[in-house]
Each structure stands twice: as structure tokens, then as C-alpha cells.
Assembly symmetry: C2
Homo-oligomer: 338 residues x 2
């Protein structure tokens, strides 16, 4: 295997290049078997590489002059902003000079660019975006939360397989339980898509299908891979964020109510921070866009160094475990034209 | 107008007849312009009516010998258990001896029974189940969370109108903001259903359509009526319950961690209870099944007297405000065959 290379789009995030370089520096110190390509503003990146004492033999910089912002229309931006950090970074994966890309940029542009520039792996019909979401026990992979709305049953079956491979190879869950998100647990429940998909999933010998999971039971951790069509997944993912933020605001509001509750807050603060830590994205890495010829990882727009470092480790595991090879092998013979 | 009558299915809930009768007693004391029909076990109900000092001139009892449990298959149960409290109660609405029914029973059976026994109002194509969900500001109506999966655009338009009438007439929101749940806020975002529905909603002169609402923004209270197809709505509603219960468990766990946090808990407990009260269902009434020839209200299986009382008030408002008349008027000329 060639030496591992991981590309970082340093301009997409809300916090600029600094946390990206800081995360890179931390990751470089943890493992010595990969190199980094930083794409962005060279003038800005050079001093940051020095400041965070990155090993300069392992870091190369590609200058890019444009930025795709969150206001840009995704497909248009990918087509027209040829010298944007995202497009330049995607091209390093396309031309094989890197195997993975991490970006904190415009989600739609990352999804579109992944498909149009990097391209689908052999046999893959759609490329799902699959973040981990916290449950009461461990984390579960919600696949698909991306842009493949109105997917067909055979595509959901591919998501189930990709998700299962990812959870086993990257997250380390043995024989991951695959569930399909549904409005009831009996097989006759569901919309047309889910009802058609369930028997196909039951037939799959290579996954551990555990049936329908009601959304109420997602936080119970009843499955490791949660298969759904992207409209549902995207709604659930964003609702999780919205409801979580509403509850946290209520807790904060409660603690700041009066003198008595402020004293109470001092007594519970450290435990509260500790217990709610796992609801934060930092140590989960990013959401992988699976089924491409390389790996593209979307991290939050406001990512700090920790999330960048974890995402780099996630990419390293992805390459070492040859997840793409496993996905291609799973879809051998599948029709990749559409 | 005939004197208002409201029927209570006293056998469907987890807590038996007692909280139902207690709630009835409380409601009877608040207003003197309606009567109650209790359906259930007569031997059990008679002493309860005495115990809670219900005005016996305003309460009649219909005995029924069967119960539809949560394990019964909905459609089958409605067909076969002719003397179940739910079927007998639905028949009081069908034959006009009552205008509304409240049940804490099997959701599927309530939905099926509403459609098959009570029947759709003129012009209504599908009958949505529409619970209120709490947001940071007020409550929003999530329509549809029922069983109408794979609904078509014109059906979603009807949901928008029914939801708007309900929020204005029953909840008292002037010119309610109607949003459609979507995966982005631009009109070109969404699945085929949402993209086809948006222009139809824009054309409606009788609703205040505010566009797409991302699930992340639901708790921000950006719309009063949240239109969605039932698969999405049902998933979101149940996910809300699941995520809410996970966060509350985390808070409880935090407060019980050690001696220090337990002291903290004592200091914040009353404020915490106060602030989280509005996330409880008690004072919201139940979820109305709209568009029937009468009103059917689904309350939680574990409802206590407060939820029963509030649901009775909700039914009373529904009749007084002639919500069904308004819905029928809104769909004048709509095709009610399908």
C-alpha cells in the first residue's frame, strides 16, 4: 500500500484554518504512518504549521484562491468555483494523491462534489451520508442523512450493507445489528418503501437484520445501523439537534433561575458536563460519505481541533481497514449504472 | 344546536376507568353546557360516578363487554370486537347521539375505527392525527402523525387547511403560520412529494404559508402548523418522545450521581419541575383525528384525570367553534371519493 495521505479542506469551516491545523498537529503526533495535504490559503497556513509544530516533512500545502460558503448553491458552486478549497481538495482524492478528504464546509457542496468529482465506487448506486448519533448505550449510525431523497428499496439494502461494514470496521461493533426505521415494529407496518425493503433485508445473508425500529426506540440503542431514506434521516438528525438544544436551553434556564438554583448549579455542574459530553460531536469524528472511490468526511461547520483530530483518526482507520475494498466486494455484480 | 354530548371510552387506557371518571367529574364542574356518555364496565362505572360526585343527570353509562388491547391488530379488532368499549363509543358518534369521542386506547384501532365507523366528513380525502408538540415558545400542531402514509400533495394541502382551522379555532392562534417540514429552506429542496406540494400551498389564499421548516427549527417555533406526510410525522413525534426521555434520564442520573449533586438536586428541583411541566401532555388535551363526521381525540394510554379533563374542554371548544363545519366549508367542491 502507498503511504496514507489525508487531505484537509482548511477554508470551509466557521472558525477558519487555525483549528484545522491544530487538529492536524495533534493527529500527526499520535501516528507516524500518514501524511497530510492542507488545501487553503498558503500565506495563512505556513505560519500555522510552524506555530503548531507540525512535522513539515509530513505536511504539504496546496494553495487555493476561492471559498465555497454556506450561501453558495451546491452544484453550481462545485461547477464554477474550480479553485475553491473544496474542489481542489476533492481533486486530490480523485487523482489518487490522497485517499480521504475532511471538510467542515457547505454540506450540499460536499455531497455534490463527492459524487461528481470523486465518483462512486464500483457497484455503488447511491452514496449515503452516515453520521453517528448518541443513544442511551452506544452510538448508532444513521444512514442516509444526505441528499439521496426518494431512494429505492435496493438502494436502502446497499445502505444497510455499507453501514454494517462501517460499524464493524471503523467503530469496532461485532456483527452490528441493522434495523430499518419504521412507524411500527410489525412487518405489515410502514410506507411502501419500507414494506418493500424489509423482505429484501431479511434475505441478506451478510448483515444481522433485526427488523423495524420505531423512532421512539432509537435512543434505546436497539440497533447499531439505522437504515432510512435520506428525507427521514435528515429530518431525524436535525430534529435531534433541535430538541437537544431546546432541552439544554431549558436546563440552563432552570439553573440560572434564582440564587438557590445557581448554588445548585455549582454543585452539579461538573457531573452535568461529564454526562452530557457524549452528546457532543468532538470525539465522534465526522459523518462519512460512503461508497465513493475515496472517503469524504463531513465535520461540523464549527469544528474545533478535537473534531479534526478524531476525523483524521477515522480516515486512517478507514484506509487501514480497506473499507472501500469491502464495500466494493459486497456489491460485486451489482448494477452500478442508473 | 342540540345539547353537546361527549363520549368517553373508559376501558382503553392503562390506568382503568378511575382517572377517566375523575377527569369527567372535574370537567362537569367547569361548564354546564354538555353531557357525558361513559362507555365501559357499568358495574365499575356506577360507584366511580358516585365516588367522584359527578352530576348524574348529565352522565349516562353504556355497558360494553369487550376491550381492544394494545396487542390487538387494529382493523381486525374494529371488525370483530363489536361490543368493545371503543367500537360502542365510536358508534355513539356515528349515530349522532354524541359529537365527540375521547379514548386512551390502541392508536391504530382508534385511527381505523374513526375512518371506518365514524367516516370522513364531506370533501375530506384523508383524516390526519395531529398532536401538539412543545417548542421553545408555544406549541405547534404536527399534522399528520397517523396512518396515512404515502399521502399525495393534494392531501397535504388539505392537512394544511385543517391544521390552520384547528389552531385558529381551538388553540386560539390568529392567522397561524403554516410550514412544511423539509430538509432545507429553499423551494428546490425536498423529496418529490414536498417539491410538488410547495407550489400548491403557495397558491392557497386561505392559509398563511411560511414555506419550508427544517426539523432543526421545529423547536424554534417558526410555524404553528407543521405539515408532513404521516411516516415523517410519526417518526418525528416518536423521536421527540425518545430523545426527551433520554435527556430526562441523563438529568436524573446526573442529579443522583453523588452526595454533592443530590444536594444540588434539592436546590433546583422545584424550578426544574416547573420549567419542564410544559413538556408533559396533561394540559394539552389529546391528539385530534381531524376530518371525520365527528371529532375523535386520542389521549395517551397512561392518561390521568388532568389529561381527560383537558381533552373534554378541547372537545367542547371543537363543537362550540363548529370546526367540522369550517373544514367542510373549506373543502367545498373537493373530490371526496378515492
Amino acid at each position: 500500500m502507498d503511504r496514507m495521505k489525508i487531505t484537509i479542506d482548511t477554508l470551509g469551516g466557521d472558525n477558519g484554518s487555525e483549528p484545522m491545523v491544530q487538529g492536524v498537529s495533534e493527529a500527526l503526533k499520535l501516528h507516524d504512518d500518514f501524511d497530510i495535504i492542507l488545501v487553503g490559503n498558503e500565506q495563512e497556513l505556513k505560519p500555522l504549521v510552524k506555530k503548531y509544530e507540525c512535522d513539515e516533512n509530513r505536511v504539504s500545502i496546496i494553495n487555493s484562491t476561492e471559498i465555497i460558503t454556506c450561501h453558495d448553491a451546491p452544484v453550481d458552486a462545485i461547477r464554477k468555483k474550480k479553485d475553491s478549497s473544496l474542489v481542489v481538495a476533492l481533486n486530490t482524492v480523485k487523482d489518487g494523491s490522497s485517499q480521504c478528504l475532511i471538510s467542515a464546509g457547505n454540506s450540499g457542496a460536499i455531497l455534490a462534489g463527492g459524487q461528481f468529482i470523486v465518483g462512486r465506487a464500483k457497484g455503488v448506486r447511491r452514496t449515503p451520508l452516515a453520521p453517528l448519533i448518541p443513544t442511551k448505550k452506544t452510538d448508532a449510525l444513521l444512514i442516509d442523512c444526505g441528499a439521496n431523497v426518494d431512494a429505492k428499496p435496493d438502494v436502502l439494502v446497499q445502505f444497510a450493507k455499507m453501514g454494517s461494514i462501517y460499524m464493524e470496521s471503523i467503530v469496532g461493533v461485532k456483527n452490528p445489528r441493522v434495523g430499518i426505521i419504521n412507524i411500527g415494529t410489525e412487518d405489515e407496518k410502514g410506507n411502501a418503501l419500507v414494506k418493500e425493503t424489509i423482505p429484501l433485508l431479511r434475505e441478506c445473508k451478510d448483515i444481522n437484520f433485526v427488523g423495524s425500529i420505531e423512532a421512539r426506540d432509537i435512543p434505546e440503542g436497539k440497533a447499531d445501523v439505522l437504515v432510512c431514506e435520506a428525507f427521514t434521516g435528515n429530518c431525524l438528525l436535525k430534529f435531534f439537534e433541535g430538541v437537544g438544544s431546546m432541552f439544554l436551553a431549558e436546563i440552563k434556564g432552570t439553573l440560572m433561575s434564582n440564587f438557590k438554583t445557581k448554588i445548585g448549579a455549582l454543585l452539579i455542574k461538573s457531573k452535568l458536563t461529564e454526562r452530557f459530553k457524549r452528546f457532543k460531536a468532538d470525539d465522534k469524528g465526522g459523518a462519512p460519505l460512503l461508497g465513493l472511490k475515496g472517503l469524504v468526511v463531513k465535520i461540523h461547520g464549527n469544528s474545533k481541533n478535537t473534531e479534526v483530530r478524531t476525523a483524521i483518526e477515522q480516515c486512517r482507520n478507514f484506509i487501514i481497514n480497506d473499507v472501500n475494498g469491502k464495500i466494493v466486494a459486497a456489491f460485486e455484480g451489482a448494477n452500478d449504472k442508473e
